[in-house]
């Protein structure tokens, strides 16, 4: 059992080491870069949220009275583009991943600190182009940029938006490369592959997808941009090009990309569940390998987005079958988490509430994915609000729940401060309720036939839409709460001890916040990551020792 000291004076740490602007904007410390990401993607999140608010306001009444036509199309397009490419994709890997990966494996930094800083600047540059596209009048193609609309007919800023995403893509490629090399080459003595925390396994799998998928999206968007600017005609049916080819290339990235968004969520949940159920994760190796399986099989199922795109029926059947396959590793994870919870001595603190929220929403989202993977059902609900609800359950419900859970779990480590446990729990509950009120009605509306991406709808759907908009306002309050009390805690929160949750990972063995080089002495790892004892909730064995 480790002694838990409460420091009253602060020794030098990565936050107070230097206060100048330069020391932040030119920092090579992965922890500071993680903070830069937190600040910037929080901005993108609320920017994307603003567009969502406008969409929901328009949908309050059946006619297209507030926004119509192209304006409405621009609203949901900007919402989707910002949320997917500038918030969800970078969210957990770039913030928590950056901050934690070296700490968890006992390294002093990521393998390539300059590349790491560069990837933040690259993302910001992409953001600038995206904002240019926005100020210049927006984009109306949807986040999917389907051709030939995006190449030929849309007269909006598709070029700038495609460029923005192309550039942002390099940010995730760089991050992926950095993580892969770091996991391979920078582990502390004794940190074998099967002693890696599950968070690290998930980050590794996520990085593989980033590295193998993003370039394909990049070239696809470049072709769209070239087609608009130069007119080379690859997706242009009028000279024999194939517009559906775009969809194949796009979804070859974008289906795996949904796992770029959800695998990191699973990473957080594995850590939180073990620490708050006070038990080792049931079937550690299964959970680790299921991440890799998801990463690999995820590349084989893109065609389930194209069941109604003129793709051959046989292709559709194969894609449908493969889609069921990819559900298996996800189910393995859910099963193992549940088994871990079973007979655990659960502490219901804020991070745990968020993790449970993730589980609930992820299961609903995943199960409806199976509905969609069934050919006939998909033909019925394709491009309806059923699909909208499905992916929001997983990406917004799942990923953001996990992201916030992770932020709460590691907040003491990141900031050196504790927050109000009461407000934390309240925010988790408000978000969970608000979320379900927002998106569950959309399953029903979609199943009844309400199509997505229209500003007007038949009056029958109004009740469901009013519910949804009401839920969205509650959700918005829920998301604002952590922003307020976490910022508050930075100044007024009690100082955090090194290991407030009595957890086992290496990151808890260094002070909160950690010193610039992470550990006073290089840790030596002597055992696997989750040595908790459910009988005595205060008993746990740290993963390593700090030796000279």
């Amino acid at each position: 059992m480790a002694a838990i000291a409460t420091p009253h004076t602060r020794t030098s740490n990565y936050l107070n080491a230097d206060y100048s602007w330069r020391s932040w904007l030119l920092t090579l410390d992965h922890k500071r870069i993680g903070i830069l990401y937190i600040v910037s993607i929080t901005f993108f999140f609320f920017l994307g949220g603003l567009f969502a608010t406008l969409v929901r306001l328009e949908l309050l009444t059946p006619p297209a009275d507030l926004f119509a036509g192209t304006t409405y199309n621009k609203l949901f397009s900007m919402h989707g583009i910002i949320m997917v490419f500038f918030f969800l994709v970078p969210s957990i890997p770039a913030t928590l991943g950056n901050f934690l990966l070296p700490l968890m494996i006992g390294a002093r930094d990521l393998a390539f600190p300059r590349l790491n800083l560069a990837s933040w600047y690259v993302l910001m540059l992409g953001g600038v182009f995206m904002i240019l596209a926005m100020i210049g009048g927006g984009v109306d193609t949807g986040w999917t940029f389907y051709t030939p609309f995006s190449t030929t007919f849309s007269n909006t800023n598709v070029f700038y938006a495609a460029l923005a995403i192309f550039i942002a893509g390099f940010s995730s490629i760089f991050t992926g490369i950095n993580f892969i090399v770091t996991v391979h080459k920078m582990r502390a003595p004794g940190m074998t592959w099967f002693r890696l925390p599950l968070f690290v396994w998930s980050m590794y799998a996520t990085s593989l997808i980033m590295v193998l998928g993003t370039p394909v999206l990049a070239i696809t968007l470049v072709l769209v941009a070239l087609e608009r600017i130069l007119g080379i005609g690859i997706f242009d049916p009028s000279i024999g090009g194939d517009a559906v080819l775009f969809q194949h290339l796009f979804w070859f990235y974008s289906h795996p990309a949904v796992y770029i968004m959800v695998l990191p969520g699973m990473a957080v949940v594995s850590e939180v569940i073990a620490a708050f159920a006070r038990r080792p994760i049931f079937g550690y190796k299964f959970v680790a390998f299921s991440s890799l399986a998801i990463a690999i099989i995820g590349f084989l199922v893109w065609g389930h987005h194209m069941f109604v795109s003129s793709q051959s029926m046989y292709a559709s059947l194969v894609f449908s079958l493969l889609s069921y396959l990819v559900a298996i590793p996800s189910a393995i994870k859910v099963f193992n988490w549940t088994a871990t919870l079973y007979k655990g001595s659960i502490r219901w603190q804020t991070p745990m509430l968020y993790a449970m929220g993730f589980l609930g929403l992820f299961v609903i989202g995943g199960l409806t994915g199976l509905f969609l993977a069934a050919l006939p059902v998909d033909v019925h609900v394709h491009d309806t609000y059923f699909v909208v609800a499905h992916f929001h359950y997983i990406m917004v419900g799942g990923t953001i729940m996990a992201y916030l859970g992770g932020i709460h779990y590691w907040w003491p480590k990141i900031s050196g401060r504790m927050y109000s446990e009461w407000l934390g729990k309240l925010s988790a509950v408000v978000i969970f309720l608000g979320f379900n009120l927002t998106f569950f009605p959309q399953f029903i509306a979609g199943y009844m036939g309400m199509p997505r991406r229209y500003a007007a709808y038949v009056p029958e759907f109004q009740v469901l839409n009013v519910l949804s908009t009401a839920g969205a306002s509650i959700l918005a309050v829920g998301y604002l709460m952590p922003l307020v009390y976490l910022l508050w805690s930075l100044r007024y929160g009690p100082l955090a001890p090194p290991n407030p949750w009595e957890a086992t990972g290496l990151e808890w063995e260094t002070s909160s916040p950690p010193p610039p080089h992470n550990f006073a002495k290089t840790p030596v790892v002597t055992r696997g990551p989750y040595a908790y004892t459910p009988e005595d909730v205060h008993t746990f064995v740290p993963q390593g020792e700090l030796r000279g």
Binding site: F112, N178, M186, P215, V216, G231, G233, I239
Partner: protein, 219 residues
Amino acid sequence: MAEHTLRAGHVAAHFDDAEQQFDAARLGMWTFLATEVLFFGGLFLVYAIYRAAYPEAFAEGSHHLHLVLGAVNTGVLLCSSLSMALAVRAAQTNQRRQLILFLILTILFGAAFLGVKAYEYYEKYHDHLMPLLGLPFVWEGPHADQVRLFYGLYFAMTGFHALHMVIGIGVLLGLLVLSWRGWFSSEYYTPVEMVGLYWHFVDIVWVFLYPLLYLIHGA
């Protein structure tokens, strides 16, 4: 913990030793090249699909590419790969003058390639075979539209390849300056080796592009 020094070793503070640092750099470069393979892979896939769909049009379009110039350029690039390999060797064996010489040679070969490429582009522009920027595309034979598609792909693929060469030359120029200042030695030559890997990769892409674009007459 090794200090960060400019010469001798160059081990950054977060690495334990030079070997770990070198291994990390090499794995990073290979991973980056994997992303490059997928980037070009997308283009090759698009090419393969249209070539299978319009074999005659592609063969006809290919006729108007300058076979000899393409062959010359292939030779030039292979020479540049050789001189790059020799540059790495020179760095490993502490021969600074040779290192500088071979880097300059590599840059010259690269520039020659780009010069020839520019001339070919000019030719296509002159013959109205440049389906870009709304320029007129004039094709006397049948399948005019599909030939246009071929030329669209030709410019996209060779254009990206050329862009990679330009970047490569820029990086080589940087290496040249550092070599001049005596940064590299048998103790520390990681950047030279990494740039070498990149340069060879770009050459290999051309080795695929040349037959796919220039040599498909028989079809």
